[in-house]
């Protein structure tokens, strides 16, 4: 069988003295779209941060593209969207400048060429932000910030896309745009691992859902139905929809 793109076996990790991952097994194969679900504090964010090397594992094994994490250097194959609410920092920056940072996975310390600038434009077109390329990121809405952060990851033309809560604080219109962008990436052959709070408009794209509870995998299989989210083990999400009658209409539109 083909080597999985991500292979996590018996992974344990702690934040401070608190164990957050307690033996997680996770394999993501080429072309798969895997959603990592679970309640707050279940370890889903720590799991993806461990995969990209931002949280050290205290035990277990991690391989990326068949290479042990310690020896893995090929970061241009990985696109990462960290959990953020803003793409801004202490100094003004344009959308182009922020997204161009993603291209460093390819250029490293070298110069920027025409192909690099084209990749940045293409990534912004994919998330529907090409018309805002010269705008300051400070002028963007929450959903647009998230679209810029995703474009930044796409600018490096990665084979594997890892996203930590890309839909948090994103308005419905932006969610639809992101679902479309992701669909195009998947059609291109990309592999995706993403942390989600709820499946939302991405549901039809997702091949497999892995549910964590207290740092352990409690479900690994087909994604649960949108209407049956409450049946998910460990799912304590309280639906915010004030009108229960709106629920079936919403899922009907999106699935």
């Amino acid at each position: 069988m083909e080597q999985p793109v991500i292979s996590l076996r018996g992974a344990t990790a702690s934040l401070g003295s608190r164990p957050v991952l307690r033996g997680v097994d996770l394999a993501v194969h080429r072309g798969e779209v895997v959603a990592l679900l679970g309640a707050n504090g279940s370890g889903k964010s720590t799991a993806v941060r461990a995969v990209v090397g931002q949280v050290p594992l205290t035990g277990g094994e991690l391989e990326l593209f068949g290479t042990p994490r310690r020896r893995f250097r090929d970061w241009s194959r990985v696109g990462y969207v960290p959990q953020r609410t803003t793409a801004a920092s202490g100094v003004p920056a344009t959308v182009r400048e922020v997204v161009s940072a993603g291209r460093l996975a390819r250029t490293g310390l070298g110069p920027t060429r025409k192909a690099d600038r084209e990749a940045v434009t293409k990534a912004l077109e994919l998330v529907g932000m090409a018309d805002r390329i010269k705008d300051s990121v400070n002028a963007l809405s929450g959903g647009q910030h998230q679209r810029v952060l995703i474009a930044r990851a796409l600018a490096g033309e990665p084979e594997l896309l890892i996203m930590d809560e890309p839909m948090a604080g994103v308005d419905l219109a932006s969610q639809e745009v992101l679902a479309k962008a992701l669909r195009e990436e998947v059609a291109r052959g990309a592999t995706v691992l993403l942390v989600l709070h709820e499946l939302g408009p991405l549901e039809p794209l997702i091949d497999r859902a892995v549910v964590l509870r207290d740092g352990c995998v409690v479900h690994d299989g087909p994604p649960p139905q949108a209407v049956g989210q409450h049946a998910l083990p460990g799912h304590d999400h309280v639906h915010p929809h004030a009108d229960p009658a709106a629920e079936p209409i919403r899922t009907g539109l999106l699935s």
Binding site: D74, P82, R84, P92, L104, L172, S174
Partner: protein, 296 residues
């Protein structure tokens, strides 16, 4: 222009120009990662280097550079390893550096209170031939780093975690930022003084970001503001007998106030244009996504 015929003023103006370029050039990265006061910390540590230079009877600029680099690297390591009481460790470093400088200065035969004051508050007209050579070499290093690696330094200061996942040598680049900041402090110490160094790293950047929308424009404007205030401040201090460091910093604050006043109507007009362009879209409904994540 008799001012340009005097050798000490030629040196002073060259030093002022180089400080005007280098301090905002590294300062923008410190402001970007919200470490605006790091220059101030390095300035305190530099005083130990100056004292040591006097005690050893060597060039205070080079010894201060060495001590600053060590201090800045220690600060960067404390920052990146995020020890729980990092602020206390930094405070020790700052005040230890200050006290060490005063102590070493008083122990040396050539050091005096007058000498201490010239390093604390700057004394641009006493810049020697030897100093100007050191300043030129160090300034070249700062400019090459901050301009040549601008995309990489932008990325690590914008979002360090993301930069690490792109495979950039983030730890090395962070140390480079710290070392470059340390070098800049010693470049600027003769011109504005160790206590006012940080002002030139922060205020021109703060002033230009009132108007600029991109990082590149902020960078260019900050350097322009830096050069404007250091050179005009030096000329002012020649004609009117006032200290150069204080004049430069007050001029920088003046530029900041003026640009802020220009920026307010400008920002209003931009907001109106943006609102007109975005009318009738679903984007501007902040209540929508906020309620979507409600937890009970």
């Amino acid at each position: 222009m008799d001012i340009l015929e005097l050798a000490f003023m030629q040196r002073a103006l060259l030093a002022a120009f180089l400080v005007g370029v280098t301090a905002p050039a590294i300062g923008i990265y410190l402001v970007q990662r919200r470490q605006a006061l790091m220059g101030d910390g390095i300035g305190h540590v530099a005083l130990t280097g100056v004292g040591l230079g006097f005690l050893l009877n060597t060039s205070p600029v080079w010894v201060a550079t060495a001590v600053c680099v060590v201090g800045a690297v220690v600060m960067e390591l404390i920052r990146s390893y995020g020890k729980t009481r990092g602020d206390i460790a930094l405070a020790m470093l700052f005040y230890g550096g200050m006290a060490g400088g005063v102590m070493l200065m008083s122990l040396s035969s050539s050091g005096s209170n007058a000498n201490l004051t010239t390093y604390l508050f700057g004394s641009i007209t006493t810049v020697s031939q030897q100093d100007i050579v050191a300043i030129c070499i160090l300034a070249t290093f700062v400019i090459l780093t901050t301009v040549g690696l601008r995309r990489q330094l932008f990325a690590i200061c914008q979002d360090e975690e993301f930069a690490r996942v792109t495979g950039l040598p983030v730890r090395l680049l962070n140390l480079l930022v710290a070392v470059t900041a340390a070098v800049t402090v010693t470049v600027a110490m003769r011109v504005v003084g160790l206590l006012l160094v940080s002002a030139l790293m922060v205020i021109p950047v703060a002033a230009s970001q009132q108007i600029a929308r991109s990082f590149a424009t902020t960078f260019a404007m900050a350097v322009a503001v830096g050069v404007l205030v250091t050179v005009s401040g030096t000329v002012t201090s020649y004609y009117v007998d006032v200290p150069s460091g204080a004049t430069i910093v007050l001029l920088a604050i003046g530029v900041f106030v003026v640009l802020t006043m220009i920026a307010t109507p400008l920002a209003k007009r931009r907001a109106e244009t943006a609102a007109a362009a975005e009318r009738c879209t679903l984007e501007e409904t902040p209540a929508g996504p906020a309620t979507d994540d409600v937890q009970v």
